[in-house]
């Protein structure tokens, strides 16, 4: 095992294999790996200029891989280095995520300025959050200018990704008529930009019309008092023809530059860190509670009584909590 400082140096020097191994390390839930991961994260230094962390989601079949490839190559052409992380909280599903999709992003995956990391095969949402945040930090330490965090359209994971990125892109397909494709309102609400893909060929006019519908929906849905006029916004793009990608990037950086100038960018990151701190505490309390000697059996017994109404939820909770507090003092 290399010293954390050495691994940190290698990552900061641009060593891809060191970065990959480090991400594998933060993905592990083994106690000794967690300790090493924490030591590594303490050792890495963040760059003076922060990477732009961009969340990205899209409905199935919208052409997300094609979009990421085209968008990534456009960024590289602008001399930006791009990391792509995938978040797939459900191990069962494979479609929609870039899990194993490196082959579908052939050009991008071979570009030396890009780094693509598929999501690991097994995971829970809680673990995914921690792992993804840590992988973002590592990519940022490795000097990438843009960290794209891609997720599948399952709702909860979008919110999670939005809570760890600086802006959120939603990629949607052209829709016939005025239907909003069953896009969850909660997801619309977190989007800083909606891009309607496939604005090419026969679908071009539909895509333009759909964009207008979404733009209208965005105006109704939300006001973010601190953002400049016209955000969140919707634009048509064509990933296959490369149209609109530069414009989307300009729009996005205009928003982020504004937020940086206003101090909102840093404030958001501080709030996100605080949020995750609290989430980690809650998760840690839960796991310590469940792991305390004797608590699990108590829980099963009490839950059965609660179900039949033999005990009130609060009485049962009191008993379980007392068992935990006594078990805890025994350990200390």
């Amino acid at each position: 095992m290399q010293a954390p400082e050495e691994i940190a140096k290698a990552i900061q020097a641009g060593d891809r294999r060191a970065l990959s191994r480090a991400i594998t390390l933060v993905e592990s839930t083994r106690a000794d790996h967690r300790a090493q991961a924490r030591a590594l994260l303490r050792a890495v230094e963040m760059p003076g200029k922060p990477a732009l962390r961009i969340g990205l989601s899209g409905t199935p079949g919208v052409g997300k891989s094609t979009f990421i490839e085209a968008f990534g190559l456009m960024l590289i052409a602008r001399e930006l280095r791009v990391a792509v992380l995938a978040v797939d909280p459900s191990s069962a599903r494979s479609g929609g995520s870039i899990l194993g999709d490196k082959t579908r992003m052939d050009l991008l995956s071979r570009a030396p300025e890009a780094y693509i990391r598929p999501s690991p095969s097994r995971s829970t949402l809680g673990g995914v959050a921690r792992r993804t945040r840590e992988a973002i930090l590592l990519c940022e330490a490795a000097g990438f200018d843009v960290v794209l965090v891609e997720t599948v359209g399952v709702g909860q994971s979008e919110t999670m990704v939005a809570d760890m990125t600086d802006a959120f892109l939603l990629l949607l397909a052209p829709a016939g008529g005025d239907e909003l494709q069953g896009v969850k309102r909660g997801i619309m609400e977190i989007a800083d930009m909606i891009l309607v893909n496939k604005a090419d060929g026969d679908l071009k006019s539909t895509a333009v019309r759909t964009t207008a519908d979404y733009a209208g929906a965005l105006r109704l849905l939300r006001k973010r008092p601190h953002d400049p006029e016209g955000y969140p916004r919707a634009k048509p793009v064509s990933a296959t023809e490369g149209h609109g990608l530069e414009e989307a990037w300009v729009d996005l950086t205009t928003l982020l530059n504004w937020r940086q100038a206003q101090g909102i960018f840093d404030q958001r990151r501080a709030e996100q860190a605080t949020y995750w701190f609290r989430q980690e505490i809650e998760e840690g309390l839960r796991s310590r509670f469940r792991a305390a000697p004797g608590v699990a059996q108590q829980l099963a017994r009490l839950e059965a009584q609660v179900k039949t109404g033999d005990i009130t939820p609060e009485d049962a909770a009191e008993q379980a909590l007392e068992a935990f507090m006594h078990a805890k003092s025994g350990l200390a």
Copy 2:
């Protein structure tokens, strides 16, 4: 202080003042009161036939007080005893809730078959949930056939009330055109029935049209696989003229009888109790964590470091949790 068994007996015998005092007791957060409240809740016996717990919410200005008065009197005319509890999680707002609205429900509040309990003035949502659940139990023990739990339209409190009732009624006003009045989708999703009030006079045809719009929205929004065909449903009512109230009640009891026959009614209550058991544990863990000696100072220091990025959220959480686990519990 009376023995819990005596208070329980008085409540079960229909003593209104005993019920009111008992609800005041469960509303208190004082430790000794909580202990007494728990003893009381252990002592009361639930009736063989459960009360129907009905959640109710509505947009401001929809005529909720008028509706509750008319609906309650209709139930009384059907020889049912009705308790009305109000949940107002925000102490600041007064409009919308029946807080202090007994005077606006003049006839109902004077009926011996009805019991109206305004929400207390100060509260947090967590405390409100426990208190309301316990007040529902007390009203059920007191032999009320229907317990109406009214809340204001703030989103979170509706979900909370839906998680402690057997059915949820949403009262809405007639709207011009096809706009869904900005009713939050999450609230639509928990409604078993939408009643469009003010289906009288000039607004009658608008109310009927609005009802059709909501009925369409409900069909799109949700399928509850266990419910009979046609639920959730939307109907027009006129609280001032008394139209549609009987029909709404028949619709509601048809649904609940179906659920009882299918075993879904009991299953839902068991799931709700389990849910609140888990919530109480989470809340209890949080409060014990915050109250542990030395943890509060640690938290403040760590949170400041997390904000500046000097420590990762997980490292900080680990430190705070270790402090908690090692803190000598004053209680143990």
